[in-house]
Each structure stands twice: as structure tokens, then as C-alpha cells.
Amino acid sequence: MSNFYNEILTDHNLHPVHKHELSCCSCTRDGVNPSCGDEITLNLRVEDGVITDGSFTGSGCAVSQASADIMLDLVIGRSTAEALRLHGIFMKMIRGEATDSELDELDEAGALSDISHMPARVKCAVLGWRTLNEMIS
């Protein structure tokens, strides 16, 4: 708990790699947490079932913004099927049910595993993933 705001999270929040507009994306979708005001717009370019590029814009708490950035790091270059599988693992992690080898697959997204003890922040962490899931499933 005490290292929840770790370097991975703060770095992705302060210096996001994927937070920008994306021209000629093939799909875009808004995700909002009305009660806390987090909002993102997720853009993906999908070619032959592969996510070849992606970005997001928006505003919100560090957890929501960093989680979206980390997610894009993970899914760009993968097939949509693979991205959906990672979404499933992320949701398992949130419920505290992911195995160690599954956590390894999440790479930096695993830095958010403590969120399973912070019910009030779960919706922030899953905002990007939920939006991604709605776009490609």
C-alpha cells in the first residue's frame, strides 16, 4: 500500500508516452467516470486484427491517466484477441485473483496490483481497460 504511488505510476502520469491526438485512427471511444470526473478518449488504429497504434487524451487522477498510458504500452503491436486476453488478466488482478505468471504478463500494469485493496480507486484504474474492451470486443 505504502508504495502504491510508485515511480512507474507517477512517471506515466507526469510523462505519458501515448497521451496525444492520433490522426487516421480507425476507432475512437470516450470513457468517463461520472462520479469522480475522470475522462479519457481512447484512439486505436487496428489493421488486420492488430493494434498498430494507439493514443489517449483526457483528464483525471494520476491512476486513471497512468493506467491508460501503461495499457497502451502493453497492447500496441498485439492482436485484438491478445489485448482482450490481457484485459481479462488485468480485471483478475483488480479482483486479487491473478497468478504470479499472469502478473508477469501485465508487465508495468502489474504495478497497479495494490488497487485490489483500494475499492474506491478501482474505477480509476480500469477506465482505460474498460474503454478498450468496449472498443474491440
Binding site: 500500500m1 505504502s2 502504491f4 504511488y5 515511480e7 507517477t10 512517471d11 502520469n13 507526469l14 462520479s35 469522480c36 470526473g37 483528464s59 483525471g60 487522477c61 494520476a62 491512476v63 483500494m118 474506491a120 480507486r121 480509476c124
Partner: protein, 406 residues
């Protein structure tokens, strides 16, 4: 300062001895005297009040009605017939809008609401205005949250039927000049609805001195259990108002095609009442009276001043509203540059400090002030200097924790 530790009166601090609970504007903790009184009612006096014809039911009725008398005296009402028990301030305000509002507001009438009202004293009026074709207008404050009598006079028109204002704003913590407002409203033929949720627990409030037509407040923000609240209304207004909810124990006589309704205050208390909550509220009033508002205000003002001083001495932290601690009544709302309030609250939580983050049910105000959301620390008399120090120690680390090196 050699102060008595009031925390010893609150069992929650036995379970969480190090917790700096600074979310008292949301709800207060409960002293043992309140918890014991509510439990004793259910152990020794429980029956359905107002109905029974046996000894225990008489005891239950007495316990419930004695609580009403305690509330009457606490806020200086003329009669216990003017005290309606509700669930909370929100329900009290809805009762006025549904009952008085639906019977009296017509197309083209105006309802004036301050821009800093809690949603509870804003949404019922918005809905009513829409339904009736009335106009909802807003009284805007200065940047430091001030409303003056002159501002109100300018905003009132001959069509203004209702003016809704909190005595103390739950964001600014500022005390509004309700007595002057009430006088101006009376001259204009406008009813004044006062939300006392943040004032009744912290300063002496006397409805006849203030001259308000209605006053709403919640028990749970003043040491009592959740689920018991109060609506005060002037008797002649309540007499003419139709019931709000229909059901048991609010009737005089019912036939298949009609009914006549019970006398005040029971006309507005349909169904089985929250007697345990009322007894708890009675015990809370006794506790507050024994402590005295002089002591409550002395402690809360000193803690507020210390809290604001710590915030002012921390770079990148900005207080919403007045710079003067005396204008805050225990409520200090602030922002930290480039750190989202939810992250701020989460970091405070790790350090054992409970604060509120968000829009505090005052979205129109946040929009007006151009703030997306804020953090709010709010003290009660049982807080102590260590709570403020714990808050301050954590506050100073937050920007660094979020990766800012300065």
C-alpha cells in the same frame, strides 16, 4: 496547551487510535453517550411509538416525543409542532419543495438559490421549477464565497417566492448573514429556506432570532446516528401544507374515498418512525449542551487556524474562499497544483488522515469557480493538534510523492 482529550468519548478512536479524522462535514463520529442511548432505547423501551395502548409503547412514544422537545429547545422553536423528524437534511429540503412548492409555486414565479448550495438545496428547486414552469435563478458570490444583504436585495424581484441558502457553505465554510437575509425576504414576501446542515452542529442557531421560515439539518453531522434529520417550519406554514408522504400514523380518519390528516407534526411523519435515531439525536443534543458552544467554537476555531496556517506554509497548495480562519468554521477546501484531489485523498489515507475529495455535492459552485474538484479537510471539537500535525506532515510530501522535484 493542556486540553481535555475528547477523543476518549468516541469509541471509534479505540479501534483507530492514530486516525486523523478530518471529514466531519461529511459526517461526525459518534460519542459513547449517543451509541448507548440508542442501544438502551432498543433494549428497554422499544415498541412502535404513537400507536400502542400498553406500557412499553407509551415509553417508546415518550422517548420519541422527548427527543422532539429537545430539538425544539436546541434551535429555539416556538412549539414542538414545528419540529418534523425526517431522515436527513436532504429529505427535509425535499419535503418543502414537494409539499409547499407543489402547492404554491406557479408558472412565472422565481426561485432564488445561491450558487454555492449543496445539491440537496438545489436539485429539489431545479426539479420544482421545471415542473411548474417557474424560473430558477442563482445568487452569485464573490471569489472568497461572500454573499451580502445588498447582493440579495438586487437579486430579488416581486416574483421571487423562495430563497434557498445554506447558513454555512459546505465548501467555503463561510457563515452567511441569514438574519439579514430573512429580514429582506420577509419585506419582499419571499420565503427563506435555510440549510443548517453545516451550522447547527457548530454554532448556536436560534430559528426565531434568525427569522427563517424553514431550517433543515441532519443528525449524523452532529454526533447522532445516521437516518435521523430535522425540518423546522413556522407553524402557520406547516399547517397549510399538504402531507409529503402518505401512510400509517399520519391520518385522522380514512374512508374508501378520502382521508383527513393528523395534526402537526405527525402529518409529515408517515409510517413507523426512527425512534432509536431520535433518541440518539436527543443524547447528541445533551452532549453538545453539556460541552457548550463556547468550548466547541473555541476548539474548532483554534484547530481551523492551525490547519490553515499549515496549508499556507506549504508551497503549491491553495485554499478556496476567505484567507481569514474565522470565516471557515472548521471547513478548509483546497487544491494542490498538478495533483488530482483523488490522488491527494489516497495519499492522505495511507498516512491515516481522512479527508474528502471531489465536488462535495456542489458541482455548480465548482464550475462557477472554474475548479474541477477539490480536497476538503473539516474539523470537529474532538480533533486535536496531533491530527493537524499528521495532516501537515503528509501534505508536505504529496507533490514529491507524485514525482515533482522542487
Amino acid at each position: 496547551m493542556n486540553e481535555r482529550s475528547y477523543k476518549a468519548d468516541f469509541p471509534v478512536f479505540e479501534r483507530y487510535p492514530d486516525l486523523a479524522y478530518l471529514d466531519n462535514s461529511a459526517t461526525t463520529q459518534k460519542p459513547r453517550a449517543v451509541l448507548d442511548a440508542a442501544a438502551r432505547y432498543y433494549r428497554e423501551e422499544n415498541a412502535n411509538p404513537l400507536r400502542g395502548l400498553y406500557e412499553l409503547a407509551v415509553k417508546a412514544t415518550d422517548a420519541y416525543e422527548n427527543a422532539r422537545i429537545a430539538v425544539r429547545d436546541f434551535i429555539g422553536a416556538a412549539s414542538e409542532r414545528e419540529i418534523i423528524f425526517t431522515r436527513n437534511a436532504s429529505e427535509s429540503l425535499n419535503l418543502i419543495a414537494y409539499s409547499y412548492g407543489r402547492a404554491n409555486i406557479r408558472e412565472g414565479d422565481e426561485i432564488l438559490v445561491t450558487i454555492s448550495e449543496h445539491h440537496s438545496n438545489f436539485l429539489p428547486w431545479q426539479i420544482l421549477a421545471k415542473e411548474k414552469g417557474a424560473r430558477l435563478k442563482f445568487l452569485k458570490c464573490t471569489e472568497s464565497g461572500e454573499y451580502t444583504p445588498e447582493m440579495l436585495e438586487k437579486a430579488l424581484t416581486p416574483r421571487t417566492r423562495i430563497f434557498a441558502a445554506a447558513q454555512i457553505s459546505n465548501v467555503f465554510g463561510r457563515l452567511n448573514p441569514i438574519k439579514e437575509f430573512a429580514e429582506i425576504c420577509r419585506r419582499n414576501g419571499t420565503l427563506i429556506v435555510c440549510d443548517g446542515a453545516q451550522s447547527v452542529p457548530h454554532i448556536p442557531v436560534n430559528v426565531r432570532e434568525l427569522g427563517v421560515d424553514f431550517l433543515a439539518f441532519s443528525g449524523h453531522k452532529m454526533l447522532a446516528p445516521m437516518g435521523i434529520g430535522v425540518l423546522y417550519g413556522r407553524e402557520e406554514l406547516l399547517e397549510k401544507m399538504p402531507p409529503f408522504l402518505y401512510g400509517g400514523e399520519m391520518i385522522e380518519y380514512v374512508t374508501l374515498c378520502g382521508a383527513t390528516f393528523a395534526e402537526l407534526p405527525h402529518k409529515f411523519e408517515a409510517g413507523t418512525v426512527n425512534a432509536g435515531g431520535a433518541v440518539g439525536l436527543h443524547a447528541a443534543i445533551d452532549y453538545i449542551n453539556a460541552l457548550g458552544f463556547d468550548e466547541i467554537e473555541r476548539r474548532e476555531n483554534a484547530l481551523t487556524a492551525k490547519l490553515m496556517n499549515e496549508i499556507r506554509n506549504t508551497p503549491h497548495v491553495h485554499i478556496t474562499g476567505s484567507d481569514d480562519p474565522d470565516e471557515h468554521h472548521g471547513i478548509v477546501t483546497f487544491t494542490i497544483d498538478d495533483v488530482h484531489p483523488h490522488d491527494v485523498a489516497a495519499i492522505f489515507d495511507e498516512a491515516g488522515v481522512a479527508v474528502r475529495a471531489g465536488h462535495h455535492c456542489a458541482q455548480p459552485l465548482h464550475k462557477f469557480l472554474n475548479l474541477q474538484s477539490t480536497v476538503r479537510a473539516s474539523v470537529a471539537f474532538y480533533n486535536d493538534e496531533q491530527d493537524i500535525e499528521r495532516f501537515s506532515d503528509c501534505l508536505k510530501t504529496i507533490r514529491k510523492r507524485m514525482g515533482y522535484n522542487e
